[in-house]
């Protein structure tokens, strides 16, 4: 570790050559992400990320705060564009031009900030961008949206007493449930969940994880889920990938790793960074 600390680039010196990160894959991948890089001005959020998602699998995406997890999710969801790298969905090149475009290709997302509209009702939020319309009139079919919203929320089992109130009046956990319901209720078969349990109580968290387990049992969707709680990771995920320093440092089935191993990676990195900072 001391040797690694000494390797940290000194100002004015050329950085050490980057190791070539091997591209991970499996024959039944629905999504593959290769050599993704993304910078925000001086900040390198993602350096070289390879990720793959197999059909019907739940992949846990781990990493410290600011590691670039949300950035990766936003690139896959079509909200941001990567600086470099390629993506494939079901073997086909995947270059989403917009969130709508990604959705049309079967990718739907729950963002960390939930993307809920406070001033709109629960059911308008649930159907945002997928509104039911009274054809041939371009008017909203509120009755149908209310009915379907009720059904979708009951299916998840989260208690939302009224669906015609604005979401500003709901609790943090209820809001999160609505964001999850919105995505799960779409036709997407690749679902990205950015910290879906962050504001949830133990019971509501368990309900969402049950929902994820149910979706997995149905076998139709594949899920990438960002989580910070390792207990939940081992409960819900088939495989984990960990982002560190803008690249994937661990990619293992949950059965082959442990809370101890995951913790050790994080702690080692922390020590290494601290040593490097001390020079």
């Amino acid at each position: 570790m001391a040797a690694e600390g000494a390797q940290a680039p000194q100002p004015g010196q050329a950085p050490p050559p980057e190791p070539v990160v091997p591209v991970a894959s499996a024959p039944d991948d629905v999504l593959r992400v290769e050599h993704i890089a993304k910078r925000f001005g001086p900040v390198t959020a993602l350096r070289d990320v390879n990720l793959h998602l197999r059909k019907g699998e739940v992949l846990g995406l781990l990493g410290d705060n600011g590691a670039g997890k949300s950035t990766l999710i936003k690139i896959i969801s079509g909200f941001q564009k990567q600086d470099a790298g390629r993506m494939f969905v079901r073997g086909q090149p995947y270059e989403p031009k917009s969130v709508d475009d990604a959705r049309a290709k079967g990718v739907d997302t729950v963002y960390q900030d939930l993307a809920l509209i406070d001033e709109l009702s629960v059911y308008h939020n649930l159907f945002l961008r997928r509104e039911r319309v009274l054809r041939p009139l371009p008017l909203l079919n509120n009755r149908e949206m209310k009915r379907e919203a009720r059904r979708a929320l009951d299916e998840i089992g989260i208690n939302i007493p009224r669906i015609d109130v604005s979401v500003a009046r709901l609790s943090g956990g209820q809001r999160q449930a609505i964001a999850v319901a919105r995505t799960v209720n779409s036709d997407a078969d690749i679902i990205l969940l950015d910290e879906p349990l962050a504001a949830m109580g133990a019971k509501e968290g368990a309900q969402i994880l049950d929902l994820v387990a149910r979706l997995k049992a149905e076998g139709r969707v594949s899920i990438i889920m960002i989580l910070h709680n390792y207990v939940q990771v081992f409960q819900a995920c088939d495989r984990v990938s960990m982002i560190q320093d803008g690249t994937i440092v661990l990619d293992k089935p949950t059965a082959e790793t442990s809370v101890e191993e995951l913790t050790k990676i994080v702690v080692d990195e922390y020590r290494r960074a601290r040593l490097a900072a001390q020079g």
Binding site: S77, F79, S98, V99, D100, R103, T109, Y111, D113, L114, A115, L116, I117, D118, E119, L120, H124, L128, R129, E131, V133, P138, L139, L140, N142, R169
Partner: protein
């Protein structure tokens, strides 16, 4: 004069209290009041009714057909302008350029008719399309380029008022189709007694339906409430914003043509349009549309415009001197807005509890 000056001022603090006392006395009134206050437009409806009652008690001829005709031009144009402005204000933006287009549209219309030789209807259509193009430019600057909307539209306001002066060479022009005796065109486009009223009601009804029951309306509220969230959810934010600015410019051009036809001439003097701009924004705000965005109502803007019209008309009927009108209008706007804040608090308290 001093007594005239005092009378309306002493009324105003009592105004909003009137129905509250009535509600306390009569349980039926209380239920009606509660229903009314639950509406976003509730407080301005109450204020407008109280003002109308005040003037009908204090003047002999407020509720006469003749006076109603006098009242119409005091509010119908503002209602149309405010309806368009509401769509921009819900986004959390503002459009000041409507005063410029209000002046520019009839002058362009005049030029197209007299110099280019287009007949009346095509000339109006081209003039309005030009206004919408300006709206699109406003929208692009605000959404895509990201310039502050106050600054962009202020620039456009000066630009188009200036352009109007240049084109007209600063001299009044006779509105084509607005000269007596009025033909069908003149009667439809603002010259007929009820023309602007009919346009105003039709435009307000349609835009309120669009706002409440269409995707366009939902996306407008979504952008004003949470722009980032709306774009994450896939709402095409720039497109909606550009569209709303185009709508706002269209209403501005339309009202400009109406007023030019109604008064038979266009005065290329920015002072009038600028005052109309502020009254239109005031009507929208008094009606319950937030300047901060996320929430608004077109019907409220209509009633806000009606309130301003009733106020001006009533003050004139009372014999208030023209020099005092603006002063009282200013006070009334402040009182109405303060009442709005209180009623808003009551409403939030009520709905929060129930």
């Amino acid at each position: 004069m001093a007594s005239v000056a005092q009378e309306p001022a002493s009324r105003e603090p009592g105004g909003p209290e009137g129905p509250a006392q009535e509600r306390r006395a009569l349980p039926g009134w209380r239920a009606v009041g509660a229903r009314l206050l639950a509406l976003r437009e509730g407080s301005i409806i109450v204020i407008a009714i109280v003002t109308a009652i005040y003037f009908s008690v204090n003047t002999s001829n407020f509720f006469t057909g003749e006076n109603l005709e006098t009242l119409l031009p005091y509010f119908a144009p503002f209602a149309i302008l405010a309806a368009g402005e509401v769509f921009v204000m819900i986004l959390g933006e503002i459009d000041l350029s409507i005063a410029g287009l209000y002046l520019f549209a009839p002058i362009l219309f005049y030029k197209l008719n007299t110099s280019v030789g287009l007949s009346l209807v095509p000339a109006v259509i081209v003039a309005l399309l030009a206004c919408m193009a300006v709206g699109a430019i406003n929208g692009v600057f605000v959404s895509v380029v990201g310039v502050n909307s106050f600054v962009v539209t202020l620039g456009m306001l000066f630009t188009f008022e200036g352009l109007s002066l240049i084109i007209s060479k600063g001299t009044p022009v006779a509105t084509p189709g607005g000269q007596p005796p009025l033909g069908t065109f003149g009667k439809v486009f603002g010259g007929g007694t009820y023309s602007e009223l009919i346009w105003a009601v039709a435009i307000v009804v349609i835009l309120q339906i669009v706002l409440m029951f269409s995707r366009w309306g939902v996306y407008t509220v979504a952008i004003g409430s949470n722009k980032l969230g709306a774009s994450e959810a896939g709402v095409r934010v720039n497109l909606v914003m550009i569209r709303n600015y185009m709508l706002c410019s269209l209403t501005a051009g339309l009202v400009g043509v109406f007023e030019a036809v109604r008064s038979a001439t266009v005065q290329p003097n920015p002072a009038g349009p600028n005052e109309i701009l502020f009254l239109a924004v005031a009507a929208a705000v008094i009606g319950g549309t937030l300047l901060t965005g996320g929430s608004g109502t077109v019907v409220g803007a209509l009633i806000g415009a009606l309130f301003l019209g009733i106020l001006k008309d009533g003050l004139i009927l009372q014999g208030v001197q023209a020099t005092y009108l603006l002063f009282y209008t200013g006070l009334a706007v402040i009182v109405a807005m303060t009442a709005n804040v209180f009623v808003g608090r009551v409403r939030r308290g009520q709905t929060g509890g129930g």
